[in-house]
Symmetry: D2
Subunit: 261 residues, 4 copies
């Protein structure tokens, strides 16, 4: 059974800041948001975590193995290098959706995201070292079948983008509603989901739902491990096997084979 640790990173009082005293230049806001995300991706990423940009002012991270002290260091570092600060709520549960629910409540109960004095909240109870297991995190890496051949090289760049967005939204809605799982568009034609322990036939079913609903054909590689980094890397290798084998769903083989095999 999975046991996902999720961190919600929220820029404090961001909306009002972007228009005070006057609306700020959009390219600066875009650069600020993207740089902040890149920094968090590296800082959590070097601790085996994954961060997703989502709305940029609210980012979602999978942080199994990362304790509160490390969260505090990252929070302090952001406060020292940016004109804004961030709050972080950390939640753990057997499904990613429930874990994010817990993380969200940590921040909501501390006050509004647009309250000027609700800053640098840091709240949550991470999974302790003794409670971690190799099944804690399941990562599924999807991509669109032949996206370059069918879309990028053939149709209008915005229509390619809309097709992928349509596929993404359909997938994310199904994962969230039917499987208590979180799916994120990560660029190109790639979607990475952090899921509860879904079975191969459940992945096949969700892929079929997306195909029927919006006509986008996906495949998926799946990995699981004690951290997002290793589960995610397994998922990438499994996705390569989909490419090699022409299959839609591949699960990573266990990293350490059973000695009796």
């Amino acid at each position: 059974m999975t046991n996902t640790q999720v961190t919600l990173v929220q820029i404090d009082n961001y909306g009002p800041w972007t228009v005070t005293p006057e609306p700020r230049r959009e390219p600066d806001l875009q650069a600020l948001q993207a740089t902040l995300f890149a920094d968090l991706a590296e800082l959590f990423g070097n601790r085996a975590g994954y961060v997703f940009y989502t709305r940029f002012d609210n980012m979602i991270a999978v942080t199994n193995g990362i304790d509160m002290d490390t969260h505090a260091t990252i929070q302090e570092s952001i406060g020292n290098r940016y004109p804004i600060t961030v709050s972080m709520g950390v939640g753990v549960d057997t499904t990613p959706v429930a874990a994010l629910e817990a993380a969200t409540q940590r921040l909501q109960s501390a006050g509004s995201a647009q309250e000027a004095d609700r800053i640098e909240v840091l709240s949550g109870e991470p999974l302790g070292p003794a409670d971690r297991s190799d099944n804690d995190v399941q990562v599924a890496h999807f991509d669109v079948n032949d996206a370059t051949g069918k879309y990028t090289d053939e149709i209008h760049a915005f229509d390619s983008f809309l097709a992928i967005e349509r596929g993404y939204l359909s997938l994310a809605e199904h994962l969230r509603t039917d499987y208590d799982s979180l799916g994120f568009f990560v660029g190109g034609d790639n979607i990475i989901a952090v899921t509860r322990d879904m079975a191969p036939e459940e992945y096949a079913a969700v892929i079929e739902s997306v195909r029927q609903e919006v006509g986008i054909e996906l495949k998926v590689g799946v990995g699981h491990d004690r951290s997002a980094a290793t589960a995610g890397m397994q998922a990438k290798h499994a996705l390569e096997e989909c490419r090699d084998n022409g299959t839609d769903v591949e699960f990573a083989r266990p990293v350490l084979a059973n000695q009796d095999d």
Copy 2:
């Protein structure tokens, strides 16, 4: 009548690179993509352009006033500082969709996005100084009514995100299909569109369509000028007027008032 100059920025042969010789660490790819976008936002942004991250491997920029030499400098600078290179196609037309169509064809006709030797293409005919006018670029800045109160502070962070994504996709589809215009999610609850010269009642209609379709309530400020930067800043000020007046659609007043007024 608008006359939009659009640049399609495409990372060369990116998909294969991300898995050669083995799949690369996801946090590194995320940081690379976001940093590249932040850089382009600033480099084009300092020349009064706007860049949208879209798929990250294919980014769309509004570049009225930026000539091919400047494009070449930016392209060279990226090649010197990143492990990847970019190609750029530039198109101009009376609607943003047609301009992007032209830009897309510049790249597609040069070869596949995943051809190892189709690198650093730079192709297009920008709008010359003599052909520019104060009506060339129309920018519409949308946001979600009371997003913090209704979503961020109240519901699960992923459900907030999905609600905004649903609103975005509905809006982007309508703008593209019915108005030959391009809409981009830019973080938070903000969507920036580059449009043909749409009238106030057309904006009201598209907002109403989104409300009926997915239940998300938007408002919009609209500006126009000879560059994305100034049109976009006008749009931001007009959106502030929506907030102040409780209205759904506001057009920026002309920057220089008619002397007879």
Copy 3:
């Protein structure tokens, strides 16, 4: 005769900020300073300027061809993306030292660098388009003869560094005192100087002084043009000729050869 435009970029009230309310983490300060410099290098660099990090809280830029509006955009962009702001003074004169003197006075006369309300000063009179010529900027690119063979691969990394620092300081002192010129260490074994119109024998003399004083052997390529970027690129090519020819001083040949040649 050269006519150099120099911009002094100064972080406002930086020292006090680094220890308020408590001393801030050093890695954050280092990352902040280096990122700020990298940003300025690109933003001025895309306009044919050069920026040198110097003390990081006081950076020196050669900005021929960059007007006050562009300075203002860069200043605003920094203020939007960093926790600190910058002031900028711009000076023009026939020697780099006199130009920086004028730029320095612009800031000093506005108040102390550590005055809390002396922020975002922007002051100066850049060289207008009509006053510019192809002789305005002279750039000299020095490096250490066989630095890798003699130092990097042979001796202790800190001793290599000290040797190069010794060479740099000796050169910078001579250039400043004897030639009214500004020399900057730019990494590796490279020193870039912005000079008055020094003659080949003056470069030979300064190289000989450094050799006698600290035993470091330098060579230099020299270029001149209307901007730092083109003069600097000429200097790099001239330095390559030093390498090819085994010479100590090379001047770039005029870019456009005389028609009678």
Copy 4:
């Protein structure tokens, strides 16, 4: 007795790369180097390490507590996000100079810094957890007395810079030759040294030597602990005490006071 772990980070084959096939634009090289340093400062800094930019193509880090796996992750991450790769040698010894000597030899024995196929070397034996103590790292944070009042606000920006450089070089030479210690200019008027366990009177002596030699007046705060981050933060607080007390040398009080006090 100190037991410093030092990492030498060297860009592989950098010099040749900067001029292949033609010399690359200087602002791009400057931005590349500074961004790489900023990244390393954060990645090591989040693990309680300190990095100094030194020559930029050869950077020196104090890495007590950071194991080879973490070095490998950082090395891989750089390779994925930059057009260049880095090699790293790790050394441990009772003085910083000897530790860097060991780190340097790790790289030199693997081949030349400009050998095209000597890439991504990772070599060294870090200090194991069982061997670490609270005396391992001593950090001294120097600054110039009243630098803003005497220099920044009063004299030419380049003369201020040269004065500080002169003070830095004098200090670094004395620390290296007389005390087997490493001093680094870190911007502003700040110099951070990683030292062997120097006594207060030794710091007073080195400050006096610099004053006599180049007329620059320094003060210093000193801390020691098991990592650079905590020793460095202690040093900063001790330097604040110099400011408060008007003293030249202050040692941080032990973090945990003796119970009998």
